[in-house]
């Protein structure tokens, strides 16, 4: 595979960093790829702006941060304004249509997807917003196998919440496939 550089951005509490960790862990533990995950965050536990970088590759990764992402995910207006300009030309920009009004066109495939609204409509709990986002991303890109994500969820998520997360992942995967053209 070619080296894939991803930036997840949003607000503290949305689960942006957790989603990044799950993706990178799936790549390393079950898809036999090399991945690193880093994060940038402030002192605030909730509401502050957060960013997590993931690099997935099949060769050694030295510098672990992402300067120009192939894939940029923005889950708030603030993170969109802050990061849209760093996307690699021809990259993939995913925004949540409820939280982000895209303003400027960048040289990227832009996908404005109603992830939050779909989660609320079909599940009714915002807690799995991040997993649905991850499913959507995988539906579009096929970065790692859904099986690998399933395995990570089984290991990380408390049993009582597992089904909820699996459902969110499935909804996201289907939605991502719809948007992958």
């Amino acid at each position: 595979m070619t080296r894939c550089r991803i930036v997840f951005s949003g607000s503290g509490g949305q689960g942006v960093i957790t989603a990044a960790i799950i993706l990178a862990e799936a790549a390393v533990l079950y898809d036999n790829l090399i991945a690193v995950q880093t994060q940038a965050y402030g002192a605030a536990a909730r509401g502050g702006s957060t960013r997590s970088d993931v690099i997935i590759a099949d060769t050694k990764i030295n510098y672990p941060k992402v300067t120009q992402p192939n894939i940029l995910v923005c889950l708030t207006q603030e993170s969109y304004s802050k990061f849209y300009s760093i996307i690699r030309p021809g990259g993939l920009l995913i925004t949540d249509s409820r939280y982000v009004q895209t303003q400027k066109r960048v040289d990227a495939r832009q996908k404005e997807i109603p992830i939050y609204e779909t989660v609320m409509e079909k599940i009714g709990k915002p807690i799995v917003f991040n997993i649905c986002m991850l499913g959507t991303l995988l539906g579009i890109t096929g970065l790692v196998t859904p099986f690998s994500i399933q395995k990570v969820l089984e290991n990380r998520i408390p049993p009582e919440f597992l089904e909820l997360n699996q459902k969110a992942l499935k909804i996201g995967l289907a939605m991502g496939k719809k948007y992958s053209d």
Binding site: E25, V28, A35, V36, Q37, T38, A43, N62, Y63, P64
Partner: protein, 382 residues
């Protein structure tokens, strides 16, 4: 069976290394960006019969591990700059009383409370001279998780071998970054256990009388021997003394046991140095960016290499000097205002060829930062 392949933070790699090395006792006070070490050990250490104590502050934490080590335990504390400042007095006590102990400092922006969640390598010289008085100290670091694991095991071995505190100096990036770690099978890495005295109960035991090889066998405090431990200059009984000859001998012993073994203690990695006329010297997270630059420029046929230091103190001057003999440019890459740069300048034959590529704004130094400095040095503009 427990899974030996993990996807973890650097802080957890340090925990795994410490447990592998036989850690028995942790006392600490959580602080960003080292908190995960305390958090994970609070669960893991009791599971293997060890003790975890959250103390009231870092002064107490350092004192607690010194006491626990004296009773025969392998000990660790973990902190960041502000906590490490508080530990300085008792770090000196551990040096003076020769107590094997491991202090992890996961560096964040400073001085003072600084930038808690951002990266820095500003505590390098603090680990060297943070505590007062002439002394030697051992400081080790690493840039990736397998190496964090290995230097942590090494630190425990070295602490026992030389009866001394060892500082593990990591940074926010490697501490919080997640990557793959494979934990070696037990027994694969040799462990150094406590050298205990063979002096039996009822016979005089001299806690500070060195054997011919310079090592001092210990006796678990509270066990069969009664003896004195003090931060004052002391004689072979451990009792205070101001006899010039004894004071002189003690200080020489404390410094020589480490400085005379600098090449044995030195850990480093070299990349493409054989024919390099440009040499980057780096450590910790910065070394990852430096290696990125080296591998990219090698593809463009530049003769560039990297010397990655894992032992910062005692500074491996002879090794640095020898590796840099043929270098036209030596660029020290670090996230401070040149703390290791100065040591490199003192070590090499041509200090005027030593330059600094640094960043001090809480952002990890990136490959472009380093490439720009290389271009500037060569008069190519940026």
């Amino acid at each position: 069976m427990e899974n030996k392949i993990k996807f973890v933070q650097g802080n957890e790699a340090c925990v795994e290394g410490a447990l592998y090395a036989g850690l028995d006792f942790f006392a600490g006070y959580p602080i960003t960006p080292s908190t995960e070490i305390a958090e994970i050990l609070s669960a893991r250490l009791p599971q293997k019969g060890g003790k975890f104590i959250q103390m009231e502050d870092e002064i107490a934490s350092m004192c607690a591990i010194i006491g626990a080590s004296l009773t025969g335990k392998k000990v660790l504390t973990a902190t960041s700059g502000p906590g490490f400042s508080l530990m300085q007095e008792s770090l000196g006590y551990a040096i003076m009383t020769e107590i094997p102990s491991i202090i992890v400092n996961v560096q964040r922006g400073g001085p003072s409370t600084g930038i808690p969640t951002h990266v820095s390598q500003g505590d390098v010289n603090q680990t060297r001279w943070g505590t007062h008085g002439d002394h030697a100290i051992i400081t080790m670091t690493a840039s990736n998780h397998p190496d964090i694991f290995l230097v942590t095991v090494d630190a425990f071995n070295i602490a026992e071998t030389y009866r001394t505190p060892v500082v593990l100096l990591f940074d926010e990036v490697v501490g919080h970054m997640r990557e793959k770690l494979i934990i070696p099978e037990p027994g694969k890495i040799p462990l150094v256990e406590r050298l205990r005295t063979s002096v039996r109960d009822g016979t005089d035991y001299h806690p500070y009388l060195a054997r011919e090889d310079g090592r001092l066998p210990m006796s678990d405090f509270g066990g069969v021997h009664r003896y004195n431990v003090t931060g004052l200059a002391h004689d072979m009984w451990g009792f205070p003394t101001d006899t010039p000859k004894v004071a002189h001998g003690l200080l020489r012993h404390l410094v020589d046991k480490i400085e005379n073994n600098v090449n044995k203690i030195a850990r480093y990695k070299e990349f493409y140095l054989e024919d390099a006329d440009q040499i980057l010297i780096s450590y910790g997270a910065s070394a990852r960016s430096a290696l990125h630059v080296v591998e990219n420029l090698r593809k463009k046929n530049q003769k560039i290499g990297l010397l990655e230091l894992q032992t910062l103190w005692p500074f491996p001057s002879a090794i640095v000097r020898e590796k840099c003999l043929k270098a036209k440019y030596i660029v020290v890459v670090e996230m401070n205002m040149g703390q290791i740069r100065t040591s490199v300048q003192n070590a090499v034959e041509h200090p005027e060829r030593v330059f600094l590529a640094n960043r001090i704004d809480g952002v990890m130094i990136n490959p472009t930062d380093i490439k720009n400095i290389l271009r500037l040095i060569k008069g190519q503009g940026v």
